[in-house]
Homo-oligomer: 210 residues x 4
DNA sequence: AATGAATGAGTTTTCATTCAT
DNA sequence: AATGAATGAAAACTCATTCAT
């Protein structure tokens, strides 16, 4: 390995280290109550160092969201092109993927949905906004392709597949956010998984041609 | 009318005046970027006066959310006890209600969903939190009663009706938030109504016993 | 006196109080090393209060400069329209005025010349820049009128009077800045007055038709 | 050439390279807005390297000023000892020299005058301050010698020649700074040369015995 | 009840300088 | 000699909230 490669890797390492610390702090405090100083402390670095890797607090936060969006898309790509299962089975796998992602990192997922839906969006730098839009669009495309396939296979009713994908994503985010808030409010047990299961079952059932 | 009553009414008046101003400012700027001074200016009052009617910024914000939650519940109560229509028709009316509420005040609705799903929730005073929980619970109960009725009437599959209500609410908030963010990102036309229509259609279809 | 008037006067009072504190701190430390906190401390106010009266550090600084420019202009206006003395005598009075102003507040005068000649100028808000330009222009006009009068009276050589005014002002600022720096460097006694006297004598002599 | 000599020469080379980069950046941004990192980038070196050749940012800046002061002195030395021209002609040559220096590097000259007249001076290290004082004093001496010569030759009035030199230098810096600021403020064309010409003409005229 | 001037804690961000490699 | 990643102190500015009038 060349020296340049090692440097590159170390740099990437450091980025991850900062993002990991940020993940923890943002999850615990939310975007506004989290401070750069605390994130730096968690990463065992000085505040200034954070700014060598991320332009500002907002971009650090958005990087986390982009990360999980990419992870979701990656997971979906593992099965959307498979020939051995039909669209309905793929939809079930999608549901499992969503549940897995939620279980993998619930707080960042919640942060992503917050980010997607709010005032933060208005204050993002154009470049980051574009990256976010693009990554987001990738994820949606993957979902759309499943819906389209189902329509082609005569399984799903021929609604507009792009709108379908929106509805699937919206339901996903809606359930995650809502059920998460109920957990906060009522100290109820974590029933996100159960609710997601049911919601998807219903949605799938609703899509189908009877 | 006694002097006490008039005072009471004037006080209520003033509260409304402040909330109306807050509605505008929060809608335009979001919770964090909105300042008490701007709200006071909008209400043509001084900052100090706001604190005679609301304990702090957060409570003022939450009051708006409680307000719209009460409005939603009120709208639902108009038809849930009707004997002349069945659960499916009530569900359709619910959909229309949701769309109406969105059109009545989209920004406050969005703020409500943000509030329900976020860091703000963690920092709410116990009293306000309780009021919010209660009002929220009222709205959910109304939905639940429709679902229960549908199950009794043999129209809907016998899933747990409380979970069903959660899913309906989650879908509502998910669609509103998600589609709103797409509007921000892509400058697409306002297709919330259309998407809500389709989402509910699918959901209703999914609920039904085939 | 009405309540509004009193408020107005108090406000003006407070502005002066802050400016006085700023004058001291800027003089002692220079613009960059002076901190808003220190100025606030000197004014026995909190840092936040400073921002109620001045948009930022730069505007506070510039206000001082505008103040002294106005003072200079005011002093000049006292004699430029007098009919009983000729242009040469007015020029001598101008010299005395300049010396007086220097003695009245040397550090703010020095700050003014710094401001007029430097990077700060590039970072001023348009409004303040305009105010500065205007006030500056007033002062120059006053000088120009003396020169013009002298040319009309056949005392001064008929160079372009605007350029003459520039040269007078430039010499004034040059001598003040330069001699002040020599004081710093060599711990020499304050010989600004003496040098200004001589410089003006020479300049006046140079202007005259022989 | 010995190895030591070559090393020495390389070191000198590197110093020049850094100073050249600093010249550009300081000229463009001014002392405070210029960053060491940017200077390093301009010099195609790393920030750390700068500190091998200059103790700190201030010394780097001052080095530039000393440089141009030396250049001015060097230019003056070319003619002050000439026997074939009298003091008045030397004064005219001095004026041309000043204009040449201004045209050779206006920004560094302006920086020099800023340095000479300001807060920076207060924060200079004793060694650098001494070097600056010395170089500055050399330049002044050269001017003084011309004035003295003129007095001896019965051309100039017998004011104190040291004060005369101060006035000449002060006028030079005053005109350059003032006219430069007018260029910034009014976007006027570069009329420094013209103004310097006139100012010197007047001064020379003022010096002369009638 | 209403005011609004004053507060001052709290946070982001910058950048000269250092030092291990 | 050169690097450049890391440091961490420092400072401007904001704004929810208070309280004397």
């Amino acid at each position: 390995m060349g020296i340049h490669e090692r440097k590159q890797r170390e740099k990437e390492q450091r980025r991850k280290q900062i993002m990991e610390a940020a993940r923890k702090v943002f999850s615990a405090k939310g975007f506004n109550k989290a401070t750069m100083e605390e994130i730096a402390g968690e990463a065992e670095l000085s505040p200034g160092t954070l700014y060598l890797y991320f332009k500002n607090k907002e971009e650090l936060h958005t990087s986390l969201s982009i990360d999980i969006l990419e992870y979701i898309t990656e997971q979906m790509k593992k099965f959307i092109d498979r020939q051995d299962i039909n669209a309905e089975e793929k939809m079930n796998t999608l549901k499992d993927t969503f549940i897995n992602v939620y279980e993998y990192d619930p707080m960042v997922l919640i942060n992503l949905f917050h980010l997607q839906s709010g005032e933060t969006l208005k204050n993002l730098s154009p470049e980051v906004l574009e990256e976010l839009t693009e990554t987001s669009s990738d994820a949606l495309s993957a979902i759309t392709s499943i819906v389209s396939e189902g329509i082609d296979q005569g399984i799903f009713a021929a609604k507009h597949p792009v709108a379908m994908a929106d509805i699937i994503w919206a339901t996903y985010s809606g359930v995650v956010l809502w059920v998460d808030s109920k957990r906060l409010l009522n100290n109820e047990k974590d029933f996100v998984k159960q609710t997601l299961e049911t919601a998807f079952e219903i949605m799938l059932n609703g899509f189908k041609i009877k």
